[in-house]
């Protein structure tokens, strides 16, 4: 019984929240890594693309809600997602036409393009605030919990409770689904193979007749789709606040780099690694130890939660020192 309690406590406070957060980071990092791998620059505007996309999804959700449309126990935002992705992708394509295409044509150094993306980031930043404002917005509707703590306790009779929010379950399901779809696309379809060829060697890809504009367009659409998904899932799970999406850029980049920039598998692993180490290393293991029959004197906490951001960076530094290309051998230009 005590061992069960310990397990439930770990699940409730470490595994479930970290898995949901990790999935959100992984989706964000996938977009970053795709753009790095194929377009060859670090896109600093990614966080604000997430924010802008989520803002559009929220507006569409409100529209649907006012029409009386709902998905029952699921959040209405899921219905608004496809159109939200389409609109945001349109903006990303326009940005590419107006900004990045020029730098590609003059074959500018990657750092120049990175700086251009910082500019785009500030524009997107302002655009998001113009569209939806700076306030915190809760837009999750439908059932809040798959299992709530009181239900779980009544069901099992354990002293520890377990909560699984609908948004956490949806996040994990959608993340798994979109990662599967992405890999199927990249490995099986002609277009996906063309993208990989272009990423591996641009000149060879051009010689074999791959249309570079098409590859660039596809990359933007897929990366933006992932960004809007990540942003919406994050917003549903926590809440939407334009400023927080700027902050999330940091862990997202850490995840992409730890996994190996340019490697999709690495981005996923990196996302979960960062999320789990943030939560697990700052978790006081006292209660668990007590359930297992020990009597610890202190809290058994390795690091104060103030240092959780530092954890991502320590991992980042160690990985860069020991294995500069990241865990999954990404590429460094």
């Amino acid at each position: 019984m005590d061992i069960l309690n310990a397990l439930v406590a770990i699940l409730n406070f470490v595994v479930i929240p970290a898995a949901a957060y990790g999935a959100q980071l992984a989706l964000g990092a996938l977009g970053v890594t795709l753009i790095y791998g194929i377009l060859r620059f670090s896109n600093f505007a990614h966080g604000d693309t997430m924010a802008f996309g989520t803002a559009i999804v929220i507006l569409l959700t409100w529209g649907l809600q006012s029409l009386g449309v709902s998905l029952g126990p699921l959040p209405t935002a899921l219905l608004a997602l496809p159109l939200g992705i389409a609109l945001t992708a349109l903006l990303a394509l326009l940005t590419d036409r107006w900004v990045y295409r020029h730098y590609r044509q003059v074959r500018a150094a990657p750092i120049v393009v990175v700086m251009a993306s910082v500019g785009v980031m500030f524009v997107m930043n302002g655009l998001t605030r113009l569209v939806i404002g700076v306030d915190e917005i809760q837009f999750a509707d439908g059932a809040r919990f798959v299992i709530s703590v009181p239900q779980f306790k009544a069901m099992t009779g354990l002293t520890e409770g377990l909560a699984l929010r609908t948004t956490q379950a949806i996040t994990l399901a959608i993340a798994a689904l979109s990662v599967w779809a992405l890999f199927a696309f990249m490995n099986r379809t002609r277009a996906g193979k063309a993208m990989r060829a272009y990423a591996d060697n641009e000149d060879l890809a051009l010689l074999s007749g791959i249309d570079p504009d098409r590859v660039v367009r596809l990359t933007w659409i897929i990366a933006t789709g992932l960004a809007v998904l990540a942003g919406t899932l994050y917003g549903l799970d926590k809440s939407f606040k334009a400023f927080n999406y700027f902050q999330i850029l940091l862990p997202v980049f850490a995840a992409a780099i730890v996994g190996g920039l340019g490697s999709p598998l690495g981005a996923i692993a990196g996302g979960f690694l960062i999320a789990f180490s943030e939560v697990a290393l700052t978790y006081p293991w006292k209660k668990i130890a007590e359930y297992l029959g020990f009597e610890p004197a202190g809290l058994l906490q390795m690091l104060g939660t103030e240092y959780k951001l530092a954890i991502s960076f320590v991992i980042l530094i160690v990985v860069l020192l020991v294995r500069p290309t990241g865990l999954f051998r990404g590429k460094a230009y």
Binding site: N12, F13, P17, A163, Y283, L299
Partner: protein, 394 residues
């Protein structure tokens, strides 16, 4: 600088010469940032006091007072210094109602207020650190120090049966100051603190903080943070994970935004914020309702009082020069003298002009103790029935 001195001299001359002079009061509040939901009502409170003085026509021989708002962001000390600097140099204000948050107030006071000889009366900066600051007599506050709030908070928590608590505080001067004063008071009165943890505002995810607090355990969780920021994020996480269902909430959290967010989930939670009851408070609330804003909003009354004190001190000194009227602030705020309630600024101005001493009470029963801060009455609130109820005064 030369211009500034000229301007100050001109103002001093003008006031001394009994000319009607336009006087400007700066309002330095965080219109954006972690307390942006409180700021509008605070600004309206201060502006109401200014309008009252204007309507009476008695202020400094018929001088008109205007207000100049500045956004100090609450969180960013550099932005606050720039905002207050603009008030002093570009807007040429004669006094400042603000700042709002403790860290930003300390920075703008030390770097702009004191060097420029500008009176700043804060309605809401409550850090104990401000008590001992070298302020050259230019700083006052109509809110009490958090050293006192910590005591009150500990009393309320113990009376309501919380014997052991976990504390999470926002990582700044306000959070640290109040959390530590609460911890020492709570432990001195026999309670146990299982964990004292800092959280950063505006972070992507608070599961690590919630997990740590849950593991430390306790009867209740004290959230010394901001309602528009990490404070609510941590509460959301703690409620969802079933870690805590009773929260102890100090002034940064007790706001309508909290009830809007959590509603019925706050059934067993309680808290306190500096405020007072009685005739002045009721009058102020009525006036605020008539003026079209919510007077019960946190620190709205204190803002009204801060602005009123500046105006009354100017009247008592017969000058809008901050270097002159700063010595009159304590006089008009405290006994002896005719009691002045909210809505009576016109009468007070008349009394002062006639040479009668006044004792300004205003909306929050103002009583300033050395070195220029409120002695402190708090209202105890709970959230039964999904709304905020004031259950008593301390």
């Amino acid at each position: 600088m030369k211009k500034l001195m000229l301007a100050t001299a001109a103002i001093a001359l003008g006031a001394g010469g009994a000319f009607a002079e336009d006087v400007k009061i700066g309002l330095s509040l965080g219109f954006t940032g972690p307390l942006e939901s409180m700021s509008p009502n605070m600004a309206k409170g201060a502006e109401m006091a200014i309008e009252e003085a204007n309507a009476s026509g008695k202020f400094l021989n018929g001088s008109k007072v205007t207000a100049a708002r500045a956004d100090n962001t609450c969180a960013d000390a550099a932005a606050a210094v720039a905002a207050v600097e603009r008030l002093v140099t570009a807007e040429k204000v004669n006094g400042i109602m603000g700042g709002m948050c403790s860290g930003e107030t300390i920075a703008s006071l030390e770097r702009v207020g004191v060097p420029n000889g500008m009176v700043m009366i804060s309605p809401s900066a409550t850090s104990p650190a401000l008590t001992d600051l070298e302020d050259g007599g230019f700083f006052f506050r109509t809110s009490p120090s958090d050293a006192r709030q910590g005591e009150v908070m500990a009393d309320i928590a113990l009376e309501r049966g919380a014997k052991s608590v976990a504390i999470t505080h926002t990582n700044n001067d306000y959070g640290k100051g109040l959390a530590e004063s609460f911890k020492s008071a709570f432990e001195a009165k026999g309670g146990t603190v299982t964990m004292l943890q800092a959280h950063d505002d505006g972070k992507a995810d608070y599961s690590a903080e919630v997990a740590a607090l849950a593991a430390a355990g306790g009867d209740a969780l004290a959230v010394v943070g901001y309602v528009d920021q990490g404070g609510s994020g941590i509460m959301r996480g703690a409620l969802d994970a079933g870690a805590f269902d009773t929260f102890i909430l100090p002034d940064g959290m007790v706001a309508q935004g909290l009830v809007d967010r959590f509603g019925a989930e706050l059934e067993t939670s309680f808290g306190q914020n500096p405020s007072s009851e009685g005739e002045g408070r009721t009058k102020f609330n009525d006036l605020a309702t008539a003026a079209g804003f919510d007077g019960t909003s946190a620190f709205a009354g204190e803002s009204y009082d801060a602005a009123a004190l500046i105006l009354l001190a100017m009247q008592a000194a017969g000058s809008a020069d901050p270097r002159v009227y700063k010595d009159k602030v304590m006089d008009v705020a405290n006994a002896p003298g005719e009691k002045i309630s909210a809505g009576e600024i016109g009468r007070a101005l008349e009394l002062i002009a006639a040479g009668t001493d006044i004792d300004y009470d205003g909306a929050s029963a103002v009583e300033l103790v050395e070195p220029g801060e409120s002695a402190g009455t708090y209202r105890e609130v709970d959230f039964k029935g999904g709304q905020m109820n004031v259950v008593g005064m301390r």
